[in-house]
Symmetry: D2
């Protein structure tokens, strides 16, 4: 083998070396040089660091039972410390967050419990996790009461969730996703709000007063695109796929339609368990997203194929150890999500027309 | 082994016997006695037959790229022949249906195509399937124009999609999901309509006229629950998971809250590729659904773990061969989804309050 | 859009059209023009037809609980009708085949049965399928007795399994994988025979007579490569991955080392549920196999991501309807696997040296 | 809700709290109280600690591309520090370990590289990892030369791999799986050795001398069962499934046949990506294993559904921080794997008959 080494064979895999008392940062750093999903986790941390060091507006999408599953204070932390700028979530994650912020709990169970016995005790199961249905009903009532206090007009999910966070914070003073977003002025979009217990709470408000509970989800479509148009450098972090993944990409595609400075997200991280080969959006590859212009052809991107509860604690713990300085220096957008119209860096964003350039 | 056979060992697996010129019905019938997902496919056909023979209102939920992937005329057939009574869909499936009903096509591609080259030609990829982005933009305009013709008021997605199907049928006379549902008076709910190109079309209507494009998704929550309250025997067929899966279950749970004759769906079939052990709703087991009361403890149910494009053609082809008589005799609900208020079996269903018993 | 259609957008997806009384052939033919795994199933049938029409030696690899799961008579049919020429299998598939050929059965169960109750009754569960452990113990004894009748010398798994099939056929006259292969002179390799109940039966023979039960698995490595060297045009069909997938590829790679006419398999079909992104061989892509020279760069190939019990009945039923003539005209290799040395097309293949060209 | 809390709702989920400079131990400890696979990772560490504190013989099974993927020094560490007592591996993991121990490397690549270009440069791809085929050929020659130095007689894979480790250590003095096992006197079984490049190396030795390269894999079956019979308290840790998973279970089942003190493994951890519902052994549940008696009904057990490269670095880093004392005090078995007959705690274990009690 006297011949020159191939250009393909330049950077060797470094076998992970165990040592006593490694930090999360050490572990994730060493994973950068292994293979497969371990390497992708290491890469995800580095790309997130680059997002923070850039001028990108960072969207975070959250689907799956993250709040019930013990991830809600990580998300609250990401919001509070502004690792991210704008949240797009399923309703369920916000609802289960509200449940705990209101002082209720989810409980450790097992996937092999007897569901008939659980049903008899009015206990709801999410794989290996349990909660009281009676407590859920109280949440629904709390949401309905909150809604009935609002002025009667349509609300974008963004405005509604800001006010919900405000009410929760005033009532409880507890940390959580909704209350952290309220305090940090991070907007939350929930495009599929009707498909969740928050939607059920809204429908119960309507039941009591037929003029209540109007959500203007089309306003959300426009606002989210205008967030991109106003500041065309963007990044996306997706946990679990679902409607948030598509909604964040749609914002970019819709924005580009009206402003050709927009050229797709510049950075992308996704942590998913779905796979590409069944054609669904949740599992779709980041390469495929480039054909649509959802991601820039030059974007830095990585998919970590794994459960969020396995990946996120390590990823954020490592990031927390190394991103501090960059967080301080971030050129981040500032929002005021409190009003009918979203304000970004001091300027109002229309919710009824796209901000053409 | 003179001892008596265990009660567990009563019904043997029958090895599948190949024969010339088997029909789809033959194949699926023989699969009932094999194991694993083959057996589950056979069982799914039998449970669907039982749904039809019962008095249940049959909900069909569709997520994933089914229309782009060549499944839309199967869904149209299920609607037209009333194998199902009410559709809950992602926006994407309806949008890609509209694309083809308007005479455009999706194309055979490959997952290994160069996405930069596709982007350069404005071609969008869905795994191994391609479409023209310029044609998609024309669809968006068509939808916006349609929306601008409507009276200015909020519409449930159900009413809006009825009118969209009507317009499509009048314009094209072509078969598809939306036009079949229009003609068969099958209501379609789309709880996450904002997260789709239909939502983008609605937002473009709003862009042109700020009084247009209001969708009342909370009205959908109430209407769908009232469909269950009016006729508490229900069945669910879910293809792909996503928001439709949860929305159909939510209708049952919400209905039970107001009417204790409701006790969860009586039959359930799901064809999914997600798995339960990551905690997400798409992959959640039908047993877990029983703890919540989404399904009756006595329900007949089966999960087929497989790609819908692999399972549905065989399943429906087999069903078509054996369900004919039962379809004729079905005690099915009749809807009039044309108005502001949904009519079921001649009676209006409220969209602003739950029909308490 | 006056501009010319892209070269990428030539062949449209054809929505699957349901019709009464479709045959398996009709269904699979229509699936060729849909997307995702449905299309891949349709493509698999066409590639298998091309294998048959070519001069390729067709290897079939079988892993997973195919025999317990009701697939064994399909495999027997493929062997008997010579849709394939050489089988590479896990031991478990051969063992569960032997169980049924000896007149025992596997039984329909459920994945939610109580495993403690099953253990108490000595019933073994394979997901939703059950069998009697006492009957399994009788099989092990039967195998040990068979082994003790053999001349004391090492046997390749290929020779041993031929003799096992012969004994089974003489004892029972029943159809199955082992007996069909015996009668059709199709060699069976079982590289991981030690990891199965056949290996346990062999070990029990050794327990009774320490000169018994020697399997020469390295002889299998050489023989399988020589099958490729003798006739360098080859094809591979893999059901489920595992050791058979790799062993078939290894035969090609090893053969090429000694004979540069060998250039990788010319055709490849795999039906797998594992995915590529965890790096394991079972889920590895057919593209990756090309980098190793396991497959020719020009090979025709398809992966169907799905459960074999879902895919194989439909695939073989469709193939049976269309491949008849081609099967008659096949230029297939003829084996005599009865002796110490495998004979192929009348010439002995060495088991102790590679047949250099 | 004045009523008493359900017995099901006792132990709340504790949301993971991010903090600066968490250690791997901190992260994994906090994961014990979240849900889904994160919790299972936390539980796996605790069960491994209990294995170490017990008197169990700990089997470790390794499948998948662990060595190519950067996990080999973790496995070497587990062996050297005697977190485990006996390794069962695929041949590939040992071969890729030998490659690096001999001073060669695997390289960082990408799953989207052009496989034709790689093939042209004789570079082999394992998902996102690359290696030189010419270097692999040199390994095969090295193995063949090693084999030709051995006395001409059948070797169990256990004896052969001990001698291979010895030779490697003498040649290189480098750390790795094979050399660590040699130095720590940890036996390695490789039941599917024929299905790997080690098998190819053995076959090339046979090619040069037809009396060389005989592996007695049935002897391995007997020896491994005798390891259980001699010391019936056992534990199993499976990384990736495959033949090692089944072989470790088979040892227990076979042992129980001859000695009814054996009652299945007392502890079980598996880290797998396969799922149960396709019926294959790799994905089979630990509950199912109880029906067979592979695991004791009272065993402590956990499945972590995730990629080994994602799970193992974190799991072992955390374990390393907390298991030190227990490792010192371990009541572990001592082996001498250097000879024709395996010696355990000073007594020879037969390789030609089961040690009946």
């Amino acid at each position: 083998m006297g011949r020159r080494k191939s250009r393909f064979l330049r950077k060797p895999v470094e076998p992970f070396a165990v040592a006593p008392n490694l930090s999360a940062d050490d572990v994730v750093s060493r994973m950068e040089r292994v293979s497969f999903q371990g390497r992708n986790l290491g890469t995800a941390r580095r790309i997130w660091e680059k997002m923070i060091a850039s001028d990108a507006t960072i969207f975070l999408g959250t689907a799956g039972a993250l709040s019930a599953g013990g991830m809600r204070l990580i998300l609250a932390h990401l919001i509070e410390r502004r690792y991210v700028d704008c949240l797009v979530s399923t309703g369920a994650n916000l609802y289960h967050d509200l449940h705990e912020t209101r002082g209720r709990r989810h409980f450790i169970g097992s996937p092999t419990l007897d569901d008939a016995a659980l049903a008899a005790e009015r206990i709801d199961r999410v794989y290996d996790t349990l909660a009281s249905e009676d407590e859920f009903c109280k949440n629904d009532e709390w949401i309905a009461s909150f809604v009935l206090k609002l002025e009667r007009r349509p609300y974008t999910s963004r405005e509604l969730l800001y006010k919900l966070g405000e009410q929760l914070w005033n009532d409880t003073g507890n940390n959580g996703i909704l209350t952290a977003a309220y305090r940090a002025n991070v907007p939350i979009f929930c495009p599929a709000i009707a498909d969740s217990s928050i939607g059920m709470g809204l429908s119960q408000a309507r039941h009591r007063d037929q003029t209540a509970g109007f959500v203007d989800v089309i306003g959300d479509v426009i606002e989210s695109a205008n967030v991109v148009i106003r500041r065309p450098s963007t990044a996306t972090i997706v946990l679990g796929g679902g409607t948030p993944k598509n909604f964040i990409n749609q914002a970019s595609v819709q924005a580009e339609f009206f402003d050709d400075r927009v050229g797709g997200h510049k950075f992308a991280i996704q942590v998913v368990t779905d796979v590409p080969h069944y054609g669904g959006a949740s599992g779709s590859s980041l390469e495929e997203a480039q054909s649509w212009g959802k991601l820039s052809i030059e974007s830095e991107k990585v998919t970590v194929h794994g459960d969020v509860t396995l990946v996120l604690p390590m990823l954020v713990s490592a990031l927390e150890s190394t991103a501090g300085d960059a967080l301080e220096k971030r050129k981040r957008p500032e929002f005021d999500p409190s009003g009918r119209v979203l304000v970004m860096n001091g300027q109002a964003l229309a919710d009824n027309r796209f901000q053409e350039s």
